[in-house]
């Protein structure tokens, strides 16, 4: 399951859809909007995306993870648009028979997503706003 959405991400529904009776392990990563960034207080975020390319890259990432690690299924959901502190910008969920490959795949996907998926974050502070360029 690969999705870009402008709504709140419903992690529970992603998890429920992903799990099957042959799975023994489920690993989940959520990126959350923090109230601070490199010492500055953050009011909220906006994410912009090159949607058609980003979706294609999410699919390629999931396919690569399934070839590279012994996992059964993957879900990657990234939110775009305005996000408040504490809301979830990205969810990566992995189901597999065993936990080792699930952890490895989840980490591979979030690390690589931050390098190659064309999505950009803009941080809004009390005194202005800045596009973040490159992973940090």
């Amino acid at each position: 399951m690969y999705l870009l959405t402008r709504e709140c991400i419903d992690t529970k529904s992603i998890a429920d859809k992903l799990k099957k009776p042959e799975d023994g392990a489920f690993v989940l990563f959520e990126g959350i909007v923090r109230n601070n960034s490199e010492g500055k207080s953050v009011r909220f975020l906006e994410y912009d995306g090159y949607e058609s390319m980003a979706l294609k890259k999410l699919e390629e990432l999931g396919d690569r993870a399934r070839r590279q690690f012994e996992i059964r299924d993957v879900a990657i959901v990234h939110r775009l648009g305005h996000m408040e502190i504490g809301e979830c910008s990205v969810v990566i969920a992995i189901s597999s028979a065993h936990r080792g490959p699930a952890f490895d795949a989840c980490r591979f996907i979030i690390d690589t997503l931050k390098e190659i998926v064309p999505i950009w974050k803009k941080e809004f502070y009390e005194d202005g706003e800045v596009w973040i360029e490159g992973p940090k």
């Binding site: 994410y47 995306g49 064309p118």
Partner: protein, 81 residues
Amino acid sequence: MSIRVLFFASLADIAGTRETSLDAAGFPDVKSVFEKFTRDFPSFEGYRSSVLFSLNSEFARPGTPVKDGDEIAFFPPVSGG
């Protein structure tokens, strides 16, 4: 037919638009299209060493050839996640 050109994040702010189009004539490769917009928008100069190119939703090199009907995008290093 023409080339569709997309800008994202700070490059869209500089260009004042997310999308434009261009007659392909005289633009043999991705880099020549970027140079054209650097002339239109001098602030693109600051992105010369970091800008990423894509051609039809695949990362592309400066020398990747372009043709009528292609979609090119210019954007800064990504920061999703």
